[in-house]
Symmetry: C14
Subunit: 89 residues, 14 copies
Amino acid sequence: MDSITVIAMVSIITAGITTGVGCMFPAISEGKAVARALESLAQQPDASDTITRTLFVGLAMIESTAIYCFVVSMILIFANPFWNYIIAQ
Amino acid sequence: MDSITVIAMVSIITAGITTGVGCMFPAISEGKAVARALESLAQQPDASDTITRTLFVGLAMIESTAIYCFVVSMILIFANPFWNYIIAQ
Amino acid sequence: MDSITVIAMVSIITAGITTGVGCMFPAISEGKAVARALESLAQQPDASDTITRTLFVGLAMIESTAIYCFVVSMILIFANPFWNYIIAQ
Amino acid sequence: MDSITVIAMVSIITAGITTGVGCMFPAISEGKAVARALESLAQQPDASDTITRTLFVGLAMIESTAIYCFVVSMILIFANPFWNYIIAQ
Amino acid sequence: MDSITVIAMVSIITAGITTGVGCMFPAISEGKAVARALESLAQQPDASDTITRTLFVGLAMIESTAIYCFVVSMILIFANPFWNYIIAQ
Amino acid sequence: MDSITVIAMVSIITAGITTGVGCMFPAISEGKAVARALESLAQQPDASDTITRTLFVGLAMIESTAIYCFVVSMILIFANPFWNYIIAQ
Amino acid sequence: MDSITVIAMVSIITAGITTGVGCMFPAISEGKAVARALESLAQQPDASDTITRTLFVGLAMIESTAIYCFVVSMILIFANPFWNYIIAQ
Amino acid sequence: MDSITVIAMVSIITAGITTGVGCMFPAISEGKAVARALESLAQQPDASDTITRTLFVGLAMIESTAIYCFVVSMILIFANPFWNYIIAQ
Amino acid sequence: MDSITVIAMVSIITAGITTGVGCMFPAISEGKAVARALESLAQQPDASDTITRTLFVGLAMIESTAIYCFVVSMILIFANPFWNYIIAQ
Amino acid sequence: MDSITVIAMVSIITAGITTGVGCMFPAISEGKAVARALESLAQQPDASDTITRTLFVGLAMIESTAIYCFVVSMILIFANPFWNYIIAQ
Amino acid sequence: MDSITVIAMVSIITAGITTGVGCMFPAISEGKAVARALESLAQQPDASDTITRTLFVGLAMIESTAIYCFVVSMILIFANPFWNYIIAQ
Amino acid sequence: MDSITVIAMVSIITAGITTGVGCMFPAISEGKAVARALESLAQQPDASDTITRTLFVGLAMIESTAIYCFVVSMILIFANPFWNYIIAQ
Amino acid sequence: MDSITVIAMVSIITAGITTGVGCMFPAISEGKAVARALESLAQQPDASDTITRTLFVGLAMIESTAIYCFVVSMILIFANPFWNYIIAQ
Amino acid sequence: MDSITVIAMVSIITAGITTGVGCMFPAISEGKAVARALESLAQQPDASDTITRTLFVGLAMIESTAIYCFVVSMILIFANPFWNYIIAQ
């Protein structure tokens, strides 16, 4: 296999795995936060404003780790400096 | 194996694994959220509006991580820049 | 092995694994939701309408992740662009 | 190994694994649902109609994921497009 | 190794593993259901009819996934289309 | 290695593993059922007839999955069609 | 390696592993049953007859799965049809 | 490597692993039974006779699975029919 | 493969894996903290200021470990000293 | 590698692993029994004689499985029949 | 591959993995500490000073293990004595 | 690699792993026993003599399994019969 | 690869892994201790001196195991006797 | 690779792994003991002397297993008999 094939191959594999693996735990984590939020709402309906606001701030921070992975994945597919260097030669 | 075969091969494998793996945990997570929502409904039937609304917002955010994986998978099958480059040569 | 054999081989394997793996956790997750729904019904029989409706919406969203996997699997067997390209040559 | 042997080989292996793996978790999941249904029946015998009905709908949806795997497995054994293409040559 | 040996080999291995693996979780699952049924009987002896009936329906559905695996295993040993094709040549 | 050796080898390995693996979980499962039965007996000595009867029916169904594995194992050792075909040549 | 060595080798390995692996879970399972029996005896000393009898029947059935493995192991060492066929040639 | 070396090698490895692996879970299991027995003694000192007797019967049955493994291990070291056959040639 | 290809290859793989793996546990951890914060808010609505402030400080420190991984990943893609040395030759 | 080296090598490895692995679970198990004994002593100081005696009998039986492994290990190092046969030639 | 490539390769991989792996558990651990701190604040709002101070000291010590890993990672990338020795030749 | 190198190599590896692995679980187990002892002391300060004595006897027996591993490790490094035989030639 | 490359390579890998792996569990462990300390402070604010002092002694001992790993890692990078011997030749 | 390289290589790897792996569980175990000690102190502040003393004795015994591993590691780096023998030739 020549260089181009190798770089393309590992870029594809890594992009897929990074997103596939990196989205697993944020999903778990958001599910946990949502589940606990629902439980808290049932327990203390009067505090629904504070609970909802804290939940959304928390979900945003958790989602951010999933987005790091998605960003790395997109960089590897569409803005890969190694690929650009190789095909530029 | 020539380059075309290799790129096609890893694209197929990665597309399958990314979706297969990446959908596992959102499913778990949604199940957890739904289960807890049902429990909360049974415990506090009067707050069913707030609970249902929070549940749906949460499910949407969890589903988003599954969709990232599905998107990467579709990109690898139908809009793969490496494949396009290789067959263009 | 020539290209056709390789592409056919990985398509078969990936299609099987994607469905096999991707259906595991939705099944778990639906089981959890159903189990909790039954528990909630036993605890609060009067709210059976809300519980049943929320359960079915939730099951539909969980089932959707299993269907993503099944769709990828069917695409790889019956509408595989790489296979079409290879046998077209 | 020639192409026919390879395709036959991976079809057999994938068919077996897809069913073997894909039936594991639906079984777990149905066991959980049934177990919780029995518990609910013991706790609230009067709601046995609603519980039984919800249980059967839930079991049907869980069974559906096992059936996806069985379907993929049967397709790979008896209606495999790659095998048909190879032996047609 | 010639084709016949290879096909025979993977058929034996796959048949064994499919049954071996596929029977694990139904067994666990039935054990769980039976255990919970016994617990429910001790807790609510008067509902023994409903409990026993629901248990048997549930066991039948769980057993069905074990039987899918056993069926695939028997097909691979005694009605294997790939083996028939190979030895027919 | 010639064909006879290969077929004999995989038959031995598969037979051993199928029984070894396939008997693990039924054992766990029966232990769980027996343990819960003992607990139920201590809790409700008057229902010992129903409990014992349900236990034995449940054990029989769990044992059936172990027996599927043992049957496949015995078929592979003493009634193996692939082995018969190979040594018939 | 000639055929005799190979068959002897896999017979030894499989015999060891089958017993080693297959005895693990029955041991766990019997331990669980015995532990729960002791707990039940402490809780309900008057029902010691029923508890002891049910325990012994249960232990016998669990032990049976360990014995399946031991039997397969002994067959592979002392009554192995493949070994007999090979050394008969 | 000649046949004698191979057979000796796998006999040593299998003997070690069978005992090493096969003694793990009986140890766990006996620990569980003993721990629960101590708990029961503290809870119901008057039933110490029944508890002790049931404990010892149970330990004997659990120990039996460890002894199966030790027996297979000793057979492989000191009464190995394959080794005897090989060195007899 | 020449040096440039090798260095590019391992840089891509490592960058992907570092982010993918390193973001998993911070996500879990933030989910846990958020969930517990929601629970605390429901339990003690009056202390919402202290709880929210402590939560945000904690999330910042947890996020910092995810950022270490992202930083290493970015260094490997855009400021890799080994890559610079190799292509400078 | 000649026969002597091979036999020495696998004897060393197996001896180490058998003891290393085989001592893990007895240690866990004894820790569990001791921990529960301490708990029982705190709960029922008057029964300290029975508890201590039962504890020591139990520890002895658990220790026996660790000793089986140590014995096999020592046999493999100092009384290995395969090693004796090989160096006798 | 020449020496320079090899050293560069393993430095990149090790740097990535050390940070990726080594940051996982501190993240978990900080999440646990923060979660428990929030719980304690909700339970005993008056002790918020002591709790916050102890929390920050604890987080600093946990963070220190993550920093050890990050330091090793940075040493391997920017102050690697083996790399310096190799390129100095 | 000649015999001396091989024997030295496996002796080093096995010695390290045996101690490394074999000390893990005794450590866990002692931690469990100590933790429970502290709990018992807090619950029943008057029985501190019996508790401390039983704890130390138990720790000694648990430590013994760690010492078996350390002994095997030291034998392999400093009194290895296979090494002595090889270098004596 | 010549000796220098090999030694450098394994030194880098081992240094990274030892720190990466060896810092995981102390981090977990410190998190556990800190979390429990916070819980104890909330429960018994008057004993904050004893609790804080015991916590810091405990953290120091736990940190010591992380430092053993860091020390081994630093020895392998900056004071490695094998590396010194090799480059001295 | 010549003998010196091989022995140096495995010594480095084994030294690193033995410390890395062997320090994991003592750390966990000490964390557990410290956590439980803090809990006991909060529950029974009057027994702080006995608790602290028992804690320190326990920590010393747990630390001893970590030290066994560290000792083996140091022996392999600085007093390795195999290395001495090899370089003496």
